[in-house]
């Protein structure tokens, strides 16, 4: 499949990427290309220019700070999955990155591309929301609770580039994913994090956009065990229903995956 024609530009600095992006109304950023190129081949996207940001060194890093792990937007999934710093501080995050797609996808796909795309079944949004991370951009810092605004929609403005994410280090965290057997995207993925401020539970794959489950968070704050949430269920009427599973099935999976995420967190 051949996309519409476009002009390719390789940016070597953030400033250059911003200038190139501002130079054309229909320009788009190209990071790992693992989502955008497919969309272009299907002719669902028709950018006039592609600004390749994958060679920008200042976007590709993993830094351990006192209470946080900061990951550059251009950092590839396999780098997060195999990072000692991430594995030490937030093992569930490394595990999540290692569960995305397959090795070839992880060698190209990036954190920033995944967040900007906000696929309803993507994994990273669950970690960002459950850990209460902050998304840094060329304009501002956006709290996780404000970043994901709907299906494939985020708080990013046109021309705004995600530069990195600061993930606060939790006391415990766990991720459990029920992958779609064909695509490996999450049918349902639940990330659970316990911090000194409380417990956060984020669900991806089940609804049109990643969401939190306040009833489970309250129950887990009292008792951080799988049993504490075994009787709690989310309302299926807000969930996705498709050839892969009904909304009732997904609602059931949310409780099961949340229980497994808590169990995984308790071990770590």
């Amino acid at each position: 499949m051949i996309p519409y024609p476009f002009t390719y530009h390789r940016a070597t600095s953030l400033a250059q990427a911003q200038a190139l992006l501002g130079g054309s109304a229909d320009a788009k950023l190209l990071a790992g290309g693992q989502t955008l190129i497919a969309a272009m081949k299907m002719r669902l996207a028709q950018p006039s220019d592609l600004i390749d940001i994958s060679a920008i060194k200042e976007l590709s890093f993993i830094r351990a700070e006192k209470d946080a792990i900061v990951v550059g937007a251009g950092t590839k999934h396999f780098e997060v999955a195999t990072s000692d710093a991430v594995t030490r501080a937030i093992p569930a995050l490394a595990e999540l990155a290692g569960s995305i797609g397959d090795p070839a996808v992880r060698h190209k796909g990036t954190l920033g591309g995944s967040l900007a795309n906000n696929d309803p079944a993507a994994d990273y949004p669950a970690a960002v929301l459950a850990l209460g991370a902050s998304v840094k951009t060329t304009k501002q810092t956006i709290a996780a609770d404000d970043f994901f605004t709907g299906m494939f929609a985020t708080a990013l403005d046109d021309g705004e580039i995600v530069t990195g994410v600061s993930f606060p280090v939790p006391e415990r965290a766990g991720y459990a994913k029920f992958p779609n057997p064909a695509s490996r995207y999450a049918m349902v993925g639940v990330f659970v994090a316990k911090t000194k401020d409380g417990v956060r539970v984020a669900v991806t794959g089940a609804g049109p956009c990643v969401f939190r489950v306040p009833e489970m968070e309250a129950a887990l704050a009292k008792s951080f065990t799988s049993e504490a949430i075994a009787g709690l269920a989310v309302d299926p009427s807000d969930l996705n229903s498709d050839i892969h599973g009904s909304s009732e099935y997904r609602a059931h999976l949310v409780t099961v995956m949340a229980g497994r995420a808590v169990a995984a967190a308790s071990h770590g």
Partner: protein, 162 residues
Amino acid sequence: MSVVSLTVNGKEVAQETEDRTLLVYFLREQLGLTGTHIGCDTSQCGACVVHVDGRAVKSCTMFAVQAAGSEVTTIEGLAKDGKLHPVQEAFRENHGLQCGFCTPGMIMTAVDMIRRIPNLDRATIRAELEGNICRCTGYHNIVSAIEDAAKRAAGDAEGKAA
């Protein structure tokens, strides 16, 4: 149009191509390296896996211009001096192919996983093959071939260290 200069299987090449040319078409149609296959063209099957700067990637999901300045290795670049690469040899000996369509991608994925992961067991090999589909469903022998090649690579490394 851009002139894309890169190294393919150790040889420098420079060719003019459209910016929208996917790496897999560049390799197959412009360089005549038809060992890299196109199975799905939608990033699912792994028939098009090549190495770019030492990492396995799907060449149907990358533009040729993105590889400018990089080192690309395709299935044609594995055998040296008329001798099969050990992973190719292991596929031959373990009957790791049936029709052979998926084989170039399987082998490029296998070489990459053996280099990254020490002590590969069958479960890990299967998990690592997530992005490679064999339509003949010959997975059992593919896994055996990779397991065999991994053991030989580990043996060689020990032999060299001793």
